[in-house]
Each structure stands twice: as structure tokens, then as C-alpha cells.
């Protein structure tokens, strides 16, 4: 049963929030016409909303406490459902095949508009996986990830404008340039502690955007660069729809390639070094891992992927401008990684699909999208820091205990 004391507490909380949101939610002034609009209905919403929410959270906490109590008596830690499926090859392979078939058939099943949205979502999957290397695996909080994305996009736009280079030539160049920027930035700043690193990368991201905005001779300023050509397919002429489908398949290929590489990396020597570095730097150095080099590789690899996606972004929209590379973009990518589960590949894919597709299909909610992103970041950290699909480390279990004791 729900105790009366908690009910009283929830009531107080709702009163507090009604007071807190009073000036901003209730009063709206028009300074030019000199009118005050009192929106008392908002106050009612806030009060009821916070009351219900505080009760729900309390119930959730009570249930969790009870579950923990039960767990401590019976110490069988169950693996999450998704992890079990991923571990079993007889489930995993048909599942992968199914997802792949769906992905390949997607453009013929749905309209071009849907395909276009899907391209965006898949690009964010790759961005999420790239940032996942840096934030999730290596534990370096990078708030300026969008800068590398911008480097990729602008390298295609500029190289194409000045030298007429095509998509396929620029794709590796864009990635490598972004990686180079990653190394250039990473070299001095990776010595810094976690939270300083976050701020410096944030500052760096803003510097790149401001330079692109103000250095008109180089980047055409805030008006951006338009008429970027779409990718060619052995010089074939394509209809608009054909081009969209073509880009779609290219992005699918990029996603598969990224998943493959990231997955292979995770259990490699380097991947384990990243995890170790995330957990304890000093212990890690004592084990003979070169701290700077390992971090630098993580940083530049993450940047490399952002650069690749940047080239894709430029060719998909055929237009780049500094406005596309604001801090909010970095925050969205970070939300994807955090929501999905830091370090978990499947989680990041789900996170990207949820966060990018949901506002597209719930148009009426798209206004509240950034509000939700902020809320998700806070709520995830408090209630489920491991994300929706947490990463389970590869571990070796000893099955037969009696053989050891003998």
C-alpha cells in the first residue's frame, strides 16, 4: 500500500513545482503591446504532473528496494534478455538476416520520403557508434563531436567546389581529415582530466563553427555552400528517387562496415585497453598501456567516423552551412549513446533509431524533442545509468566448481 506520508510529500513537491514554474509558465508578457497574459491552466498542469510523477518515482523506488531485498536472498544474477539472444548464435544469425533483409527491402516497401528519413536515422547510428568508441568505450566525454562531422561535410563541399573532386575520392579524405583534426586536438588536451576534456572539446566545437560562420572567404560564411553533387555510380544517370535509394544503400553498407569494425575492436587488445583506461588510468599505466597513444587512437577513430558521415551528410542534403553543426547536434549524438547504453553496440543502434525516428513520426511532439533529450539525459543517469541495453563484458565462467577445489 502507498503510505499516507508519501502522499503528503508528493503534495508538497507539487506545490513547490507550482511555485517554481510560476513566473515562466504562468505569466507571459507582450512588452510591445503592453499586455499580460495569465496562463493559470499551465500551473494546474505542472502541479498535477509533478504530483503524479513524484508518486510514480516513489512507487518505482519502493519496488526496486523490494526486488533488491529478494535478490540478496537468492544470488542468481540473470543476464538481460537481449544479451542472451545476442549470445546464442542460433537466435542471432536469423535475427541479423531478418534485419538485413528488412533494411535492404526498405526503399521498395516505403516511399522516398520514408527512405530519406531512414537515411538520416542510419547516419546517426554511425555517428552514435563513432562517439560510442570515444565516450562509451574509452570514457572520454567529447562534447565537440560535431566539429569532426563538420570537417567531413565541409571537406567534401570545398574540395568539390574548388577542385571538382567526386564523392568517392573525398570519402576517405574527409574521414582522414577529421581523424587528423582529432589527433591535432587530442594531442594537447588528452592529458586533461575528464571534465576539463569535456569543456575543451565543447570549446573546440564552437570554435570550428564560429570560424566557418565568420571566415567567409574560406567557407562562404553563414549562407553555406550549396549545389553539392550527389554520389555517382560509374557515371550512370539517375533519377532523384534512384539517387536517394543509392545513398540509402551506401549508408546501409556504411552501417554494416561500422558495426563490423567496432565489434571487432571491442574485444581486441586495443578495445580492452580502452575499457581498462576508462576504469582506472593509473592501474592501466602500471600494466604497461601507453595512456596517451591509446586515448589518441580512440579520439581519432571516433573523429574518422564523424568525418565519413559528414561527407554523407553533405552529399545527401547537397548543402552545408554552419547552422547544421551547433552544440545541440553534439548533444543529440551524446543522448543517443547515453540512452542506448554506453559501450553497447546494439544499444546505440536502438538509441539512434528511437531518438531520430520518434520525433519524425510524432510531428506534434517534435517541438518537445530537445526538452525530451535533456530530460532523457538526466533521467537515464539517475535511474538507469547503463542505458536501455547495457553492455555485458565478455567474461569467462567456470562451470564446474568442484574440479577446482580438488
Amino acid at each position: 500500500m502507498f503510505p499516507l506520508k508519501e502522499l503528503k510529500r508528493s503534495l508538497l513537491i507539487s506545490l513547490w513545482f507550482a511555485f517554481l514554474t510560476f513566473p515562466i509558465m504562468v505569466i507571459k508578457v507582450d512588452p510591445i503591446d503592453r499586455i499580460v497574459i495569465w496562463r493559470w491552466d499551465n500551473m494546474a498542469f505542472v502541479a498535477i504532473g509533478s504530483f503524479v510523477l513524484s508518486i510514480l518515482i516513489k512507487v518505482w523506488i519502493l519496488r526496486k528496494e523490494r526486488r533488491n531485498l529478494r535478490k540478496s536472498t537468492n544470488r542468481d544474477i540473470t543476464e538481460p534478455f537481449v544479451q542472451r539472444i545476442l549470445r546464442e548464435p542460433r537466435f542471432l544469425y536469423p535475427l541479423c538476416l531478418g534485419v538485413l533483409t528488412f533494411a535492404l527491402l526498405f526503399p521498395s516497401l516505403f516511399s522516398t520520403y520514408q527512405t530519406n528519413i531512414m537515411i538520416t536515422a542510419l547516419m546517426y547510428v554511425v555517428l552514435g557508434l563513432g562517439l560510442n568508441i570515444v565516450v562509451g568505450v574509452a570514457g572520454l566525454l567529447d562534447l565537440g563531436y560535431v566539429a569532426f562531422y563538420a570537417v567531413g561535410a565541409y571537406s567534401y563541399a570545398l574540395l568539390n567546389m574548388h577542385f571538382g573532386l567526386g564523392f568517392w575520392t573525398v570519402l576517405p579524405i574527409g574521414g582522414l581529415l577529421a581523424a587528423l583534426f582529432g589527433i591535432l586536438l587530442g594531442f594537447p588536451v588528452l592529458r586533461l582530466r575528464g571534465d576539463y576534456l569535456a569543456i575543451v572539446t565543447l570549446g573546440f566545437g564552437e570554435i570550428i563553427r564560429l570560424v566557418l560562420e565568420n571566415w567567409s572567404a574560406f567557407s562562404n560564411g553563414p549562407s553555406g555552400i550549396s549545389n553539392i553533387p550527389r554520389p555517382s555510380f560509374f557515371g550512370m544517370e539517375m533519377t532523384f528517387e534512384g539517387q536517394i535509394h543509392y545513398i540509402y544503400y551506401l549508408v546501409v553498407a556504411l552501417v554494416i562496415f561500422t558495426i563490423f569494425v567496432v565489434n571487432r575492436l571491442q574485444n581486441s587488445r586495443l578495445g580492452r585497453a580502452w575499457l581498462a583506461l576508462r576504469e582506472d588510468e593509473i592501474a592501466c599505466q602500471a600494466m604497461g598501456i601507453d595512456k596517451t597513444k591509446t586515448k589518441l587512437i580512440a579520439f581519432s577513430l571516433g573523429a574518422f567516423w564523424a568525418g565519413l558521415v559528414g561527407v554523407f551528410f553533405a552529399t545527401k542534403t547537397t548543402f552545408v552551412s554552419p547552422a547544421s553543426f551547433s552544440f545541440l547536434e553534439s548533444a543529440i549524438i551524446l543522448s543517443i549513446v547515453v540512452l542506448g547504453g554506453m559501450g553497447s553496440i546494439v544499444g546505440v543502434i536502438f538509441g539512434a533509431l528511437i531518438l531520430i525516428l520518434m520525433p519524425e513520426y510524432l510531428r506534434s511532439l517534435s517541438e518537445y524533442r530537445m526538452l525530451a533529450f535533456g530530460g532523457i539525459l538526466v533521467a537515464m543517469m539517475i535511474f538507469k545509468p547503463q542505458g536501455i541495453i547495457s553492455n555485458v563484458r565478455r567474461s569467462y565462467k567456470i562451470k564446474n566448481k568442484s574440479t577446482i577445489s580438488e
Binding site: F19, I199, L328, A331, Y368, L377
Partner: protein, 300 residues
């Protein structure tokens, strides 16, 4: 020469505003070691609250002095309430979590508050009423130093003196210093650390609100996005002076304000923000402990 003095005063004015915000960063960092990313948003909410209250009062025909006082008090009260709530909701449950978790939570809170104001109010720039009158005695120098510059400098100086007094001579100030030095030890000698942390957030938020009101009235317009840039710059100032150190925050803010003023005055105004960010990157690379900060040694 006039131009130089004009830039000097505009730099000092900017520096004072950064200082009022930077104090909040540095106090919170000194006590719980967290970069309170949402602090810039608290400042923005302070500016918005004072804007709303001042406009409502002026529509109902209150005298100017009453408007200034009530708007200032309202801004400080509500900003403190927001600061207190943010700490309780987003940071307190994470006090023993890994270092990255509260930081991500803070970034989330900052995005949340920005969009909350955007949705509840508007995304347009709003004209802020001129609260500070032009003084007659400033007439001869008005082309160099405005009356609002003077008011900002004086208010900042008074606020900082009051803060110094609070921290040096009151009981809660003593408790704050003790908590900053060693939290566990502070608990052992009977300090209610939760209350000290709440007090820190409240004081920092009130200072930021005063800064928000002053700068909004100085510039004459506000928008939901002002907190982001001001927050980062104030953070830069706090780091420049040595984060965790209160005189450092003031010194760093003045250095940053003057750098910006002279750089925009003599070099180019397009890159005002780039100078600030570059300064931040350079300090963190070459002297992460800042001008007045102590280098952190890590023991195993």
C-alpha cells in the same frame, strides 16, 4: 585615449558580469567537484524572471525604484529556487556515481531548462526595459562610460564584498570552507553537508540572477539562449582564475572581459567568442590549475 578608456570600461563591465556567474561555478566546483553545466541556464532564468516581473509591474504603473527592487528580489528568489531544485533533482542522487554521470546529467539539465523557457515563453529576442536611468552627474563622461556600466561595477563590487563577508565570517561560510577542504571530515565534525551544498547552489544562483538582470538591462534584450554562451564564458573565467578559488574567479573574469573588449576593439568583432574559447583551450593546455588555483595531485 578615449577609445582605450571606453574599451577598458566595457571590458570591466563584461568582466563583472562574468564574475557574478563565475562565482557560482567556482563555489560549486570547490565543494562537490562538479562543473555545474546548468548554471548558465540559472542565470538566463534570472534574467527572464526579472524581465517578466519588471514588465508586469511597469504595465501596472509601479514607480521605477519599486520595479528595480521587486524585480531584483524576484529574480534572486526564483533563480535560487531553480538552483536548489536542480541540485536536488539532478545532482544529489548521483553524488557517489562515477565522475562522468553528474556531468552528463548537468548537460541534460541545461538543455532541458533552455527548452523549457523556449516552450513556455518564446524563441524571439525580447526587449528588456531599461531599468537603470541615465544619471545627470555622469553627463560629462557619458560618451565613454555609461550610467549602467557604473551601476554594474558598483553592484558587482558590493555583491562580492557581501560574499566575502559571508564566507569569511558567518557560520555557514565556515561550514562551506570546511566542506570544500574535506567533505568526509566535515561530516565527522557535525556539519550537515547536504545543507551546505544546497546553500552553495542558492548563493551561486542568486549571484547569477543579479548578473542576469544587470546585463539584460544593460544590453536591452534577452532570449532563451543567452545562458549557454554566458555560462561557457563564465566557466572559462573560473578556470582561468583557478577553479575552486573565489578571488581567482573574479580575477579570471576581469582578465577575460578585458581580453574580449580589447580584442574586439582593436582586432575584429567577428571573432569575439573565438577569442574566449581559444583562451580557454590555451589555459587548460598550459596551466590547467589556473592563475590562482592549486595544482591537484592525485594519490593512489
Amino acid at each position: 585615449m578615449d577609445y582605450f578608456i571606453e574599451l577598458l570600461f566595457s571590458g570591466l563591465t563584461k568582466g563583472s558580469i562574468y564574475g557574478l556567474i563565475a562565482l557560482g561555478y567556482t563555489m560549486v566546483y570547490g565543494i562537490i567537484g562538479l562543473i555545474n553545466f546548468a548554471h548558465g541556464e540559472i542565470y538566463m532564468i534570472g534574467a527572464f524572471t526579472s524581465f517578466i516581473v519588471a514588465t508586469v509591474l511597469s504595465i501596472y504603473g509601479f514607480p521605477l525604484l519599486a520595479i528595480i527592487v521587486i524585480a531584483g528580489v524576484a529574480a534572486a528568489v526564483w533563480s535560487s529556487a531553480y538552483g536548489y531544485t536542480v541540485e536536488k533533482v539532478a545532482y544529489r542522487p548521483l553524488r557517489h556515481a562515477p565522475r562522468l554521470s553528474p556531468l552528463i546529467s548537468a548537460i541534460g539539465m541545461s538543455i532541458f531548462l533552455q527548452n523549457y523557457v523556449l516552450l513556455a515563453q518564446t524563441s524571439d529576442f525580447l526587449p528588456f526595459p531599461a531599468l537603470i536611468p541615465e544619471f545627470d552627474f555622469m553627463e560629462p563622461v557619458a560618451h565613454i562610460v555609461g550610467s549602467s556600466d557604473l551601476v554594474i561595477l558598483i553592484t558587482t563590487a558590493v555583491s562580492m564584498l557581501a560574499l566575502t563577508f559571508l564566507i569569511k565570517f558567518t557560520k555557514i561560510g565556515k561550514a562551506m570552507r570546511a566542506t570544500a577542504q574535506d567533505r568526509t571530515m566535515a561530516v565527522l565534525v557535525g556539519i550537515n553537508v547536504d545543507r551546505v551544498i544546497s546553500a552553495t547552489f542558492i548563493i551561486g544562483s542568486a549571484l547569477a540572477a543579479i548578473g542576469g538582470m544587470l546585463i539584460a538591462s544593460h544590453i536591452g534584450q534577452i532570449n532563451f539562449y543567452i545562458g549557454f554562451l554566458a555560462g561557457i564564458k563564465a566557466f572559462t573565467a573560473a578556470v582561468l582564475g583557478g577553479i575552486g578559488s573565489i578571488p581567482g574567479a573574479v580575477l579570471g573574469s576581469m582578465v577575460l572581459g578585458l581580453t574580449e573588449a580589447f580584442a574586439t576593439g582593436y582586432v575584429s568583432s567577428d571573432y569575439e567568442d573565438v577569442f574566449a574559447f581559444s583562451l580557454l583551450v590555451l589555459i587548460l593546455i598550459f596551466k590547467p590549475s589556473g592563475l590562482l588555483g592549486k595544482a591537484e595531485t592525485k594519490k593512489v
